[in-house]
Protein backbone atom coordinates (compact mmCIF):
# COMPACT_ATOMS: atom_id res chain seq x y z
CA UNK A 1 0.00 0.00 0.00
CA UNK A 2 2.73 2.41 1.07
CA UNK A 3 4.84 1.50 -1.94
CA UNK A 4 2.11 2.92 -4.19
CA UNK A 5 2.67 6.40 -2.80
CA UNK A 6 4.20 8.93 -5.15
CA UNK A 7 7.53 10.52 -4.23
CA UNK A 8 5.74 13.77 -3.42
CA UNK A 9 3.25 12.03 -1.12
CA UNK A 10 6.12 10.30 0.68
CA UNK A 11 7.90 13.63 1.17
CA UNK A 12 4.74 15.19 2.61
CA UNK A 13 4.24 12.28 5.03
CA UNK A 14 7.87 12.30 6.18
CA UNK A 15 7.76 16.08 6.66
CA UNK A 16 4.66 15.55 8.81
CA UNK A 17 6.70 13.28 11.09
CA UNK A 18 6.08 9.82 9.62
CA UNK A 19 9.70 8.69 9.54
CA UNK A 20 8.88 5.08 8.63
CA UNK A 21 7.55 6.14 5.21
CA UNK A 22 11.06 7.31 4.33
CA UNK A 23 12.03 3.64 3.98
CA UNK A 24 9.74 3.42 0.93
CA UNK A 25 11.79 6.16 -0.72
CA UNK A 26 15.00 4.41 0.30
CA UNK A 27 13.85 1.09 -1.18
CA UNK A 28 12.82 2.88 -4.35
CA UNK A 29 16.18 4.58 -4.98
CA UNK A 30 18.78 2.65 -2.98
CA UNK A 31 20.05 0.54 -5.86
CA UNK A 32 20.58 3.53 -8.15
CA UNK A 33 22.12 5.71 -5.42
CA UNK A 34 24.43 2.80 -4.58
CA UNK A 35 25.23 2.35 -8.29
CA UNK A 36 26.17 6.05 -8.60
CA UNK A 37 28.49 5.67 -5.60
CA UNK A 38 30.09 2.40 -6.74
CA UNK A 39 30.66 3.70 -10.28
CA UNK A 40 32.64 6.59 -8.82
CA UNK A 41 34.33 4.95 -5.81
CA UNK A 42 34.79 1.43 -7.22
CA UNK A 43 34.76 -0.18 -3.76
CA UNK A 44 31.65 -1.88 -2.49
CA UNK A 45 32.01 -1.22 1.26
CA UNK A 46 32.87 2.44 0.77
CA UNK A 47 30.08 2.88 -1.77
CA UNK A 48 27.55 1.40 0.66
CA UNK A 49 28.74 3.75 3.39
CA UNK A 50 28.44 6.74 1.04
CA UNK A 51 24.98 5.61 -0.12
CA UNK A 52 23.80 5.45 3.51
CA UNK A 53 25.24 8.89 4.08
CA UNK A 54 23.35 10.16 1.01
CA UNK A 55 20.00 9.06 2.44
CA UNK A 56 20.85 10.40 5.90
CA UNK A 57 21.66 13.80 4.40
CA UNK A 58 18.56 13.67 2.21
CA UNK A 59 16.41 12.90 5.25
CA UNK A 60 17.89 15.84 7.12
CA UNK A 61 17.47 18.17 4.16
CA UNK A 62 14.02 17.00 3.08
CA UNK A 63 12.53 20.22 4.43
CA UNK A 64 14.66 22.19 2.01
CA UNK A 65 13.79 20.08 -1.05
CA UNK A 66 11.82 22.52 -3.19
CA UNK A 67 10.81 20.09 -5.90
CA UNK A 68 12.48 22.04 -8.72
CA UNK A 69 13.90 18.76 -9.97
CA UNK A 70 12.85 15.14 -9.59
CA UNK A 71 13.70 13.57 -6.23
CA UNK A 72 15.81 10.99 -8.11
CA UNK A 73 17.91 13.76 -9.71
CA UNK A 74 18.30 15.38 -6.29
CA UNK A 75 19.42 12.09 -4.70
CA UNK A 76 21.85 11.28 -7.53
CA UNK A 77 23.32 14.78 -7.24
CA UNK A 78 23.91 14.27 -3.51
CA UNK A 79 25.39 10.84 -4.26
CA UNK A 80 27.73 12.29 -6.88
CA UNK A 81 28.93 15.09 -4.56
CA UNK A 82 29.39 12.74 -1.62
CA UNK A 83 31.31 10.28 -3.79
CA UNK A 84 33.64 13.07 -4.94
CA UNK A 85 34.13 14.13 -1.30
CA UNK A 86 34.91 10.54 -0.37
CA UNK A 87 37.46 10.20 -3.17
CA UNK A 88 39.05 13.50 -2.08
CA UNK A 89 39.11 12.39 1.56
CA UNK A 90 40.78 9.11 0.66
CA UNK A 91 43.20 11.14 -1.47
CA UNK A 92 42.54 8.98 -4.48
CA UNK A 93 42.98 10.45 -7.92
CA UNK A 94 40.10 10.81 -10.35
CA UNK A 95 41.48 9.16 -13.47
CA UNK A 96 40.39 10.47 -16.83
CA UNK A 97 41.05 8.09 -19.69
CA UNK A 98 40.82 8.88 -23.34
CA UNK A 99 39.84 6.30 -25.88
CA UNK A 100 41.19 6.08 -29.37
CA UNK A 101 38.07 7.38 -31.08
CA UNK A 102 39.33 6.40 -34.53
CA UNK A 103 39.37 2.69 -33.70
CA UNK A 104 36.65 0.71 -35.44
CA UNK A 105 34.81 -2.18 -33.89
CA UNK A 106 32.98 -5.08 -35.47
CA UNK A 107 29.82 -4.63 -33.41
CA UNK A 108 28.10 -7.60 -35.06
CA UNK A 109 30.94 -9.95 -34.10
CA UNK A 110 31.12 -8.55 -30.57
CA UNK A 111 27.36 -8.99 -30.19
CA UNK A 112 27.66 -12.62 -31.27
CA UNK A 113 30.50 -13.21 -28.83
CA UNK A 114 28.50 -11.65 -26.02
CA UNK A 115 25.46 -13.75 -26.85
CA UNK A 116 27.58 -16.88 -26.62
CA UNK A 117 28.02 -16.17 -22.90
CA UNK A 118 25.48 -17.13 -20.24
CA UNK A 119 23.40 -14.14 -19.13
CA UNK A 120 25.06 -14.09 -15.72
CA UNK A 121 28.54 -14.22 -17.25
CA UNK A 122 27.59 -11.53 -19.73
CA UNK A 123 26.34 -9.21 -16.99
CA UNK A 124 29.46 -9.78 -14.92
CA UNK A 125 31.64 -9.09 -17.93
CA UNK A 126 29.80 -5.80 -18.66
CA UNK A 127 29.93 -4.67 -15.02
CA UNK A 128 33.63 -5.47 -14.80
CA UNK A 129 34.24 -3.52 -18.01
CA UNK A 130 32.30 -0.51 -16.68
CA UNK A 131 34.34 -0.72 -13.50
CA UNK A 132 37.50 -0.32 -15.57
CA UNK A 133 36.26 3.01 -16.90
CA UNK A 134 37.23 6.23 -15.13
CA UNK A 135 34.69 7.05 -12.37
CA UNK A 136 33.03 9.96 -14.14
CA UNK A 137 32.77 8.11 -17.45
CA UNK A 138 31.31 5.01 -15.78
CA UNK A 139 28.72 7.22 -14.09
CA UNK A 140 27.80 9.11 -17.27
CA UNK A 141 27.39 5.86 -19.21
CA UNK A 142 25.18 4.46 -16.43
CA UNK A 143 22.99 7.55 -16.12
CA UNK A 144 22.60 7.87 -19.87
CA UNK A 145 22.05 4.25 -20.88
CA UNK A 146 20.63 2.59 -17.76
CA UNK A 147 18.49 5.41 -16.35
CA UNK A 148 17.95 6.99 -19.77
CA UNK A 149 18.42 10.44 -18.31
CA UNK A 150 18.58 13.42 -20.66
CA UNK A 151 21.78 15.41 -21.09
CA UNK A 152 20.10 18.24 -19.16
CA UNK A 153 19.37 15.97 -16.19
CA UNK A 154 22.94 14.65 -16.21
CA UNK A 155 24.13 18.26 -16.30
CA UNK A 156 22.05 18.96 -13.16
CA UNK A 157 23.59 15.97 -11.38
CA UNK A 158 27.25 16.35 -12.31
CA UNK A 159 27.57 20.04 -13.08
CA UNK A 160 29.19 19.25 -16.47
CA UNK A 161 27.77 21.14 -19.43
CA UNK A 162 25.50 19.21 -21.81
CA UNK A 163 28.19 19.35 -24.51
CA UNK A 164 30.83 17.93 -22.16
CA UNK A 165 28.43 15.16 -21.14
CA UNK A 166 27.79 14.34 -24.81
CA UNK A 167 31.49 14.18 -25.68
CA UNK A 168 32.38 12.15 -22.59
CA UNK A 169 29.58 9.64 -23.22
CA UNK A 170 30.85 9.23 -26.78
CA UNK A 171 34.44 8.68 -25.60
CA UNK A 172 33.29 6.51 -22.69
CA UNK A 173 31.36 4.29 -25.08
CA UNK A 174 34.44 3.84 -27.29
CA UNK A 175 36.57 3.04 -24.26
CA UNK A 176 33.96 0.55 -23.05
CA UNK A 177 34.02 -1.17 -26.45
CA UNK A 178 37.82 -1.37 -26.24
CA UNK A 179 37.65 -2.95 -22.78
CA UNK A 180 34.90 -5.37 -23.81
CA UNK A 181 36.85 -6.43 -26.89
CA UNK A 182 39.92 -7.12 -24.76
CA UNK A 183 37.86 -8.99 -22.16
CA UNK A 184 35.69 -11.00 -24.52
CA UNK A 185 38.25 -13.48 -25.78
CA UNK A 186 39.37 -14.91 -22.40
CA UNK A 187 35.76 -14.80 -21.16
CA UNK A 188 34.61 -16.94 -24.08
CA UNK A 189 37.47 -19.42 -23.58
CA UNK A 190 36.69 -19.58 -19.84
CA UNK A 191 32.97 -20.09 -20.51
CA UNK A 192 33.72 -22.78 -23.08
CA UNK A 193 36.07 -24.58 -20.68
CA UNK A 194 33.47 -24.32 -17.92
CA UNK A 195 30.83 -25.94 -20.04
CA UNK A 196 33.00 -28.73 -21.46
CA UNK A 197 35.05 -29.38 -18.32
Amino acid sequence: MMSRLTDQEIIIQVRAGDTATFSVLVDRYKSMVFTVAIRMIKQREDAEEVAQDVFLSAYGALETFRGDSKISTWLYRIAYRKSLDHIKKKKRKIITEFADVSERFDIGAMDQQMNSLEQNERNQCVKAAIEELAGDDALLITLFYLKELSLKEIEQITGFSSNTVKVRIFRGRKRLLEILKRRLEPEIIKAYEGRTG
Partner: protein, 139 residues
Protein backbone atom coordinates in the same frame (compact mmCIF):
# COMPACT_ATOMS: atom_id res chain seq x y z
CA UNK B 1 29.15 4.85 -42.66
CA UNK B 2 30.63 6.34 -39.50
CA UNK B 3 27.17 7.35 -38.30
CA UNK B 4 25.91 3.83 -38.88
CA UNK B 5 28.83 2.43 -36.86
CA UNK B 6 28.07 4.91 -34.03
CA UNK B 7 24.38 4.01 -34.03
CA UNK B 8 25.19 0.30 -33.83
CA UNK B 9 27.69 0.89 -31.02
CA UNK B 10 25.09 3.01 -29.19
CA UNK B 11 22.44 0.28 -29.44
CA UNK B 12 24.89 -2.46 -28.48
CA UNK B 13 26.12 -0.63 -25.35
CA UNK B 14 22.56 0.35 -24.38
CA UNK B 15 21.44 -3.28 -24.60
CA UNK B 16 24.37 -4.52 -22.51
CA UNK B 17 24.15 -1.79 -19.83
CA UNK B 18 20.37 -2.19 -19.42
CA UNK B 19 20.70 -5.97 -19.23
CA UNK B 20 23.49 -5.76 -16.63
CA UNK B 21 21.28 -3.43 -14.57
CA UNK B 22 22.05 -1.48 -11.41
CA UNK B 23 24.19 -2.77 -8.55
CA UNK B 24 22.44 -3.81 -5.36
CA UNK B 25 23.50 -2.77 -1.87
CA UNK B 26 23.47 -5.29 0.99
CA UNK B 27 20.16 -6.77 2.18
CA UNK B 28 20.34 -4.86 5.48
CA UNK B 29 20.79 -1.51 3.75
CA UNK B 30 17.33 -0.04 4.46
CA UNK B 31 17.07 -1.57 7.92
CA UNK B 32 20.47 -0.27 9.00
CA UNK B 33 19.75 3.17 7.54
CA UNK B 34 16.38 3.48 9.31
CA UNK B 35 18.08 2.46 12.54
CA UNK B 36 20.61 5.26 12.08
CA UNK B 37 17.81 7.76 11.37
CA UNK B 38 16.01 6.61 14.52
CA UNK B 39 19.16 7.03 16.60
CA UNK B 40 19.77 10.50 15.18
CA UNK B 41 16.21 11.52 15.95
CA UNK B 42 16.50 10.24 19.51
CA UNK B 43 19.75 12.11 19.98
CA UNK B 44 18.38 15.34 18.59
CA UNK B 45 15.27 15.11 20.79
CA UNK B 46 17.42 14.63 23.92
CA UNK B 47 19.77 17.50 23.22
CA UNK B 48 17.84 19.93 21.16
CA UNK B 49 20.12 22.92 21.04
CA UNK B 50 18.50 26.29 20.72
CA UNK B 51 20.27 29.60 20.44
CA UNK B 52 20.33 31.61 23.62
CA UNK B 53 19.20 34.69 21.77
CA UNK B 54 16.60 34.09 19.08
CA UNK B 55 16.68 35.69 15.65
CA UNK B 56 14.03 38.20 16.75
CA UNK B 57 16.00 38.90 19.91
CA UNK B 58 19.02 39.98 17.89
CA UNK B 59 17.04 42.77 16.21
CA UNK B 60 16.78 45.16 19.22
CA UNK B 61 20.38 44.31 20.16
CA UNK B 62 21.61 45.14 16.68
CA UNK B 63 19.51 48.30 16.63
CA UNK B 64 20.96 49.41 19.99
CA UNK B 65 24.55 48.76 18.91
CA UNK B 66 24.02 50.57 15.64
CA UNK B 67 22.39 53.45 17.51
CA UNK B 68 25.32 53.70 19.92
CA UNK B 69 27.80 53.56 17.05
CA UNK B 70 25.87 56.27 15.24
CA UNK B 71 25.81 58.52 18.29
CA UNK B 72 29.51 57.92 18.94
CA UNK B 73 30.46 58.67 15.37
CA UNK B 74 28.28 61.71 14.85
CA UNK B 75 28.08 63.28 18.33
CA UNK B 76 30.48 65.74 19.93
CA UNK B 77 32.47 63.66 22.40
CA UNK B 78 35.22 66.13 23.06
CA UNK B 79 33.28 67.72 25.91
CA UNK B 80 34.55 67.72 29.48
CA UNK B 81 32.98 64.77 31.19
CA UNK B 82 33.88 66.02 34.63
CA UNK B 83 31.22 68.69 34.13
CA UNK B 84 28.49 66.12 33.64
CA UNK B 85 26.75 65.62 36.99
CA UNK B 86 26.46 62.02 38.13
CA UNK B 87 24.43 62.28 41.35
CA UNK B 88 25.07 58.74 42.46
CA UNK B 89 28.84 59.15 42.30
CA UNK B 90 28.64 62.52 44.00
CA UNK B 91 26.72 60.99 46.92
CA UNK B 92 29.26 58.23 47.30
CA UNK B 93 32.01 60.82 47.06
CA UNK B 94 30.35 62.88 49.76
CA UNK B 95 30.12 59.81 51.94
CA UNK B 96 33.81 59.15 51.64
CA UNK B 97 34.56 62.78 52.26
CA UNK B 98 32.75 62.60 55.58
CA UNK B 99 34.78 62.41 58.73
CA UNK B 100 33.99 58.80 59.25
CA UNK B 101 35.65 57.60 56.04
CA UNK B 102 38.08 60.42 55.60
CA UNK B 103 41.41 59.20 54.33
CA UNK B 104 40.08 55.84 53.22
CA UNK B 105 39.21 56.69 49.66
CA UNK B 106 38.94 59.93 47.80
CA UNK B 107 36.45 59.43 44.97
CA UNK B 108 37.37 62.73 43.38
CA UNK B 109 40.90 61.47 42.81
CA UNK B 110 39.69 58.56 40.70
CA UNK B 111 40.04 59.25 37.01
CA UNK B 112 38.49 56.86 34.55
CA UNK B 113 39.27 56.83 30.87
CA UNK B 114 36.31 57.31 28.48
CA UNK B 115 36.98 54.00 26.74
CA UNK B 116 36.71 52.18 30.05
CA UNK B 117 33.38 53.90 30.75
CA UNK B 118 31.98 52.82 27.35
CA UNK B 119 33.29 49.31 27.82
CA UNK B 120 31.70 49.02 31.26
CA UNK B 121 28.41 50.41 29.98
CA UNK B 122 28.36 47.89 27.12
CA UNK B 123 29.37 45.06 29.43
CA UNK B 124 26.60 45.85 31.89
CA UNK B 125 24.13 46.16 29.02
CA UNK B 126 24.97 42.71 27.64
CA UNK B 127 25.16 41.23 31.10
CA UNK B 128 21.63 42.49 31.74
CA UNK B 129 20.38 40.98 28.47
CA UNK B 130 22.11 37.71 29.22
CA UNK B 131 20.45 37.45 32.62
CA UNK B 132 17.00 37.90 31.10
CA UNK B 133 17.62 35.31 28.40
CA UNK B 134 19.40 32.89 30.70
CA UNK B 135 16.48 33.00 33.12
CA UNK B 136 14.05 32.43 30.29
CA UNK B 137 16.19 29.60 28.87
CA UNK B 138 16.63 27.84 32.21
CA UNK B 139 12.94 28.11 32.99
Amino acid sequence: MKEEQDRKADEFIRKLVVEAGADQPSDQFTQSLMKKIGQEQLQSSVTRYQPLISKKGWLPIAATILGICFILLTGDWQQDWSAVPIPFLDEIGALFHSDRYAGMLNMNSISVDHTVVYALLMLSFFFYIQIIYLKKFLR
